[in-house]
């Protein structure tokens, strides 16, 4: 038996919509098998994992908290990937954004003014953008592969954060815990609704998603992104500069990752500590692809991936499954998304006998 691909005469609209859903279903089926192998009741486990977190108000708030950074980073990455620039160091830009945004509350804890929060957000975005600017500079100046450089910078950013909170930024009254002082009230991102913990980062995420959707759909810049991403040569004929696009895509995705970073530190954690992200920067890559690199699709996929984090925590508490299962789920999901995307461009045929060999011999 062989698998043959036959190019569709045109892109299948049906499968453009169906493929992410198909991928989700396949992931759930594989997840059920995995739970069964671990000796748990598959249905009960899936219920705890994917349904229970949606039933209570507080856990919906948690969902919004976890989805916000994923969506913010994911929409930036989507534009980046659409333009054929492969920034995979969002985790590092998230970290540097968090650090840059935290400079004010850490160094000026006595400063009580409303202006501090907007300044923090701007500085966070600037920090993330600058950090993403390094691979952009290296790519445009030295032709260096941005995949490798942006990833190496993740490790460096995490070590820098580690040094900061164990060294110069450590709270002297913190019982030797490696963390800074808690931020002053004015430096904490306020809650969105009175009913729970979810803060404004989720609003930022939705605004960013809609704005980028609008840009990709209706603005010349969006067209430029798509054209240069599909064919640099075609873009040059249209007068677009691939070099400038590297800068645009990297700075944009870096700024959004930085915003996610400072929002997370200011809204969810309240101080800076060595570990500020459960891998949001990497999970956002999955979010971007599951949303088919479409900013509105990414809002949906960000919520789905946030659910895997929440479900992981819930499953660990109630049925004793390790939260590492979440990473497996996320990895599987990306695999299925990528394989289902084949259906959009190709018909898949199973060939049971090798007809051509017979013909050749005859």
């Amino acid at each position: 038996m062989r698998i043959e691909l036959e190019k569709r005469p045109r892109v299948s609209l049906l499968f453009s919509v169906l493929s992410p859903l198909l991928a989700l279903v396949l992931t759930l089926v594989f997840g059920a098998i995995m739970f069964w192998l671990l000796g748990k009741s598959p249905l009960n486990a899936l219920y705890v994992y994917f349904v229970e977190p949606l039933l209570e108000v507080w856990s919906l708030h948690e969902l919004a908290i976890k989805a916000a950074p994923l969506i913010l980073i994911g929409v930036g990455l989507a534009v980046c990937y659409r333009s054929n620039n492969w920034n995979i160091g969002a985790e590092g830009q998230f970290t540097i954004g968090a650090i840059a945004g935290s400079i004010l509350p850490v160094l000026y804890p006595q400063w009580h003014s409303w202006i501090i929060l907007p300044l923090m957000l701007v500085m966070g975005m600037a920090g993330g953008a600058l950090y993403a600017g390094i691979p952009a500079l290296l790519k445009t100046r030295f032709n260096t592969n941005e995949i490798l450089t942006s990833l190496m910078l993740v490790y460096i950013a995490q070590l820098f954060l580690d040094w900061l909170v164990r060294g110069p930024w450590r709270d002297p009254q913190g019982y030797n815990f490696p963390q800074t002082k808690s931020f002053q009230v004015e430096a904490v991102l306020p809650e969105m609704l009175a009913s729970g913990r979810a803060h404004w980062a989720f609003v930022f995420a939705i605004v960013a998603a809609v704005a980028l959707w609008f840009m990709m759909r209706f603005m010349l810049k969006g067209f430029e992104v798509s054209v240069l991403g599909q064919s640099e040569r075609a873009g040059r004929f249209a007068g677009f500069s691939a070099r400038r696009m590297v800068w645009f895509a990297m700075l944009l995705s870096g700024a959004l990752a930085g915003l996610a970073g400072i929002s997370e530190v200011s809204g969810s954690i309240g101080h800076v500590q060595p570990s500020i992200s459960p891998g949001y920067g990497f999970t956002a890559i999955i979010v971007a692809f599951l949303g088919r690199l479409n900013p509105l699709g990414i809002v949906a996929s960000g919520l789905v991936l946030a659910l895997t984090y929440l479900g992981g925590e819930a499953a660990q508490l109630s049925i004793g499954i390790s939260d590492k299962v979440s990473r497996v789920f996320q990895g599987l999901l990306l695999f299925f998304v990528l394989s289902c995307d084949t259906l959009i461009h190709y018909r898949i045929k199973l060939v049971f006998s090798d007809v051509r060999t017979v013909e050749a011999k005859g």
Binding site: L138, F142, N143
Partner: protein
């Protein structure tokens, strides 16, 4: 003292060399597999688990090789059969590998590992200094050296290697000549996976004989950078691998001496060195273009 440092440099360099050599063959066939980190960590956990269950580190090594190769098949199926985007699929392989290995290895955390013992080659290992450094190593070191020679010969002196390079440079021409592009690429991907698995096995059986989550710590990515650094030549992989090994060990010793620099800064050195090396090697656009396999990362659907 010097001898001891040299020995640790070799142990730190070996996994980088092995993984990079595997990826080199894969990329020479025109396939860009960014999942080295994932295959490496799967190799590490499979090797550790096999060694624990059977009590034999050699079976463990074999387990790592098979684990890495089997895991790479997933990448092969997606990118070669289903022509999915190679960059994205490679990332998926890494993400899944890190998750899956954590899940598999959970029951092995904190267990004492089984170390692969060195094999002293009779007579040769009696040579002063050189003998103890080069001929009293464990099997993975000898394998890494054999791979450098073997791959160098295969790629540039054998007929099969010529075909493999032809596929990497122009899959359409190779296909027209009747070479089975997809099958060769599957084999190349699996070879890369097996090497990454072996490199991972070295980590969990030799370098630090225990299982720690994420113990590959970016080495798979450094191996990818090494392939670019080596401009797709096995000998240069060896040189680059040892350069990185030396940087890694150098910073560890500097930390031990406490030279007044934050330890985090020193730990960042291997990653920073990767970036610097990439800049040096890629700034000349023309030489990069000449050396890069021309079909690298491009999808191929055979016409019928």
């Amino acid at each position: 003292m010097f001898e001891a440092i040299l020995l640790t440099v070799i142990t730190a360099s070996t996994p980088l060399v092995i993984a990079a050599l595997g990826e080199l063959v894969t990329e020479r066939a025109g396939v860009l597999n960014l999942g080295v980190e994932g295959m490496m960590i799967m190799g590490a956990v499979c090797a550790f688990a096999t060694a624990q269950l059977t009590g034999s580190p050699y079976l463990g090594l074999l387990g790592g090789v098979f684990g890495g190769a089997a895991f790479s098949l997933l990448f092969g199926f997606l990118t070669l059969t289903l022509v999915a985007n190679q960059v994205a699929t490679g990332l998926a392989l890494t993400i899944l590998g890190l998750g899956l290995s954590g899940q598999i290895g959970e029951s092995f955390v904190g267990k004492p590992g089984i170390k692969l013992q060195p094999i002293a080659i009779p007579l040769l290992s009696d040579i002063p200094f050189v003998g103890r450094v080069l001929f009293a190593q464990d099997l993975t070191f000898y394998l890494s050296m054999a791979l450098v020679f073997g791959i160098g010969w295969f790629l540039f002196k054998s007929r099969a290697g010529l075909k493999l390079r032809a596929i990497g440079d122009s899959h359409a021409s190779a296909h027209a000549l009747g070479i089975n592009v997809i099958r060769t690429r599957y084999l190349a991907v699996m070879f890369g996976g097996a090497c990454a698995g072996l490199a991972g096995a070295q980590l969990s059986l030799v370098y630090t004989p225990q299982w720690v989550e994420n113990m590959s710590a970016g080495r798979g990515w450094i191996a990818l950078a090494l392939v670019v650094f080596a401009s797709w030549r096995p000998w240069r992989v060896l040189a680059g691998g040892y350069l990185f090994g030396a940087v890694t060990i150098g910073q560890l010793h500097a930390q031990a001496f406490g030279i007044g620099v934050p330890s985090q800064l020193l730990s960042a050195l291997p990653y920073a060195a990767t970036i610097v090396v990439l800049i040096i090697i890629s700034h000349n656009r023309r030489t990069t273009l000449i050396n890069t396999p021309a079909s690298l990362g491009k999808p191929f659907v055979p016409d019928r």
